[in-house]
Amino acid sequence: MALRMMKYAMPEQDPKVRAHNFDEVALGYDEETAIAEASRCLTCPNPRCIKGCPVQVDIPGFIAKMKTGDFAEAIKVIKKSNALPAVCGRVCPQEHQCEKYCVMGIKGEPVGIGRLERFAADYDLASENETKPIEYAADASKVAVVGSGPAGLSAAGELARRGYKVTIFEALHKAGGVLSYGIPEFRLPKEKVVQVEIKNLEKLGVKIALDTVVGKLYTIDELIDEEGFGAVFVATGAGLPSFMHIPGENLNGVYSANEFLTRCNLMKAYRFPTYQTPIKAGKVVAVVGGGNVAMDAARTSLRLGAEQVYIVYRRSEKELPARLEEIQHAKAEGIDFKLLVNPVEVIGDDSGNVKRLRCIKMQLGEPDASGRRRPVPIENSEFNIDVDTVIIAIGQGPNPLVQSTTPDMQTNKRGNIMADDSTGKTTKPGVFAGGDIVTGAATVILAMGAGKKAAEAIDKYLKNKKH
């Protein structure tokens, strides 16, 4: 049989239907399709795909197991390098990572590595293997992890498996970081995937202290000097929303994407009034930005009942930083992309509500420091879009709460914690950091990779300290 050049299609909810519900959009392969897709892999002796994966999952290794239908073994192979495969299979930007390098992509489409990873992980979640608690040594050292996003979770898991008693301190009332409050249910199911992974960690013996803002209830020094933690891993993410600093940004109806998504995902405002937190979705919504956060906000608006949703992005289609699949999904659902357009003012009515967004057209100039062509405004090209809601999704910076109460832990001029790339070591002895708080807003898998490396380094540090 000739080798199939194209990926097997992912079954999805019909765009017209899914635009009005919060159920998962991509439904996942069935067993037969998973085996067929796995069979497209050439099991290359020098697999190029692996070098595209930030945590070096043994891709041909796990796919080989899937070819024979041995999904239980496949997941074991994946889990050696990736603690949250059900998450990564869904949200990794595969087209820039593993799949980008797959040889099958040269003449046709790459192997659907992410989809296969998701299948194996979902198979594993459904099989309800009991996680066995770790038996800790009587003198096991304690490690504190600050923040329960992917970086914190992966560090905690790795440390627990190495025999450390881990407590995760989380500011919110739910663990998971962006996985819980940011990425919507229709892309990453909360109960079925995220909470199951977190419960498994707890079954290992990891303690999670919710409602605990480090920098307020405890400082890092207090954790070390008074609470008996031998080391601390700081993984507080990039949670501080940026605004555009244009007139009208404080009008009612202007949200940061963080607030909009938090109300919807964490507080479940889409089930108001059963859940008490309100949200004002609006009828006509403009989302400013072009990344995953912007796509999520736009598609959430649609699901909350908006009739018309625009993405307003200042560069062109090619530069959109969102995952390819999200852009395609957004378009299929009817999101209107206004590209090479930048807002200059939010205009309100007499009672302080948003009425329209004033924008200016842009063109691409010379490449800037990031190598991308810089957008420059076209003079006298201003125009208005009538909207009642504006959602700002132009990026997030580091939250300063931990840094400002830990003066001997150095930060760079953007406020990110300075940490060694391969160990997560900060300038403060015993304190490590990783994920978005170090790199700035990045990806789930990079944050997890950083958590794992830091766990290894913490293990070494504590062993040295003992001797």
């Binding site: 409050y181 209830l217 501080l240 929303p241 607030e259 009034p273 008490q276 939250n399």
Partner: protein, 282 residues
């Protein structure tokens, strides 16, 4: 889970709760607030830490039932547990010895959050003149407590049923007019009250601190929902505040943003009333 140790009705629909929370009590400072969530479906409700006892390990809140969230909170009893309490949030009040004469103004339920500040100012050796305002004498709260930590207390009521007839600004003007040197004014209460206080002190260039209460979600600087215009900067009240220089605050913007969910919340309150009726019937 946080146990309610004591529940006291201070005035109609205004409750005081002492909540068991030793760690929070250890770290809390005047001016800071906490966030509670009553149950899985509940909102995150920001409330000022009205008092704390480090030895006994509890913090107090004083809140008014004004909507669905605070009504559900008000239904809890002594011995019940609150699902989530996050604290201490926000910056503490600037208190130090040698600040001089400080006028602490609490309007309505704002007396509760002004109390630990007045106490802190007093303990630091400053002269504390307190002004307590209420609609009428029946809803005046914490008078005894305020008297214990103030050098002088002035009470105002809208209807004259107690103290000076008028608003807190009437009393403030009296203090200004008797040429008492005022080094700082701290005002907490309804936004309109804080705005009037700020306008009253502006001509005299008296430093005036106000504690803002915009709508909040996380309380940690993550959502930006609590943003207020202060001078030419956007500030997040939950981490940069809640106290700000009143002469720089854009009160109009603050009031407008507080009204954002008014319609939705009316609906919700009806919904909760119906629900509790059904629950009550069973």
């Amino acid at each position: 889970m946080y146990k309610i140790l004591k529940k006291v009705l201070l005035s109609p629909s205004v409750w005081l709760y002492d909540i068991e929370a030793p760690r929070i009590a250890k770290k809390a400072e005047p001016g800071q607030f906490l966030i509670v969530r009553t149950d899985e479906e509940g909102e995150r409700i920001p409330l000022t830490i009205a008092d704390f006892d480090r030895q006994k390990g509890y913090v107090s809140i004083v809140f008014q039932e004004i909507g669905a969230g605070t009504e559900l909170l008000g239904k809890l009893n002594e011995g019940d547990y609150i699902l989530d309490v996050v604290a201490p949030l926000g910056r503490k009040t600037h208190i130090e010895p040698g600040m001089g004469t400080v006028v602490c103004i609490g309007g309505g339920i704002g007396v509760a959050p002004i109390y630990p500040i007045a106490r802190g100012m007093h303990q630091a050796g400053n002269k504390v003149i307190s002004i307590m305002g209420a609609k009428n004498k029946d809803i005046l709260i914490l008078e005894k407590e305020m008297r214990a930590v103030s050098d002088e207390v002035l009470i105002t009521t809208d209807d004259g049923s107690c103290g000076i007839k008028g608003f807190v600004t009437t009393a403030l003007q009296q203090i200004i007019d008797r040429s008492e040197k005022i080094d700082e004014v701290i005002a907490i209460g309804p936004v309109v009250m804080m705005r009037s206080v700020v306008e009253a002190t502006r001509p005299y260039k008296i430093k005036t601190v106000v504690s803002l209460n915009p709508i909040m979600v996380d309380g940690t600087g993550m959502c930006g929902g609590c943003r207020v215009q202060v001078g030419d900067e956007i500030k997040f009240a939950c981490v940069d505040g809640p106290e700000f220089d009143g002469h720089l605050v854009d009160f109009k913007g603050l009031m407008s943003r507080q009204r954002m969910y008014k319609d939705a919340e009316k609906e919700e309150t009806n919904h909760v009333c119906k629900l509790s009726k059904i629950k009550g019937a069973i």
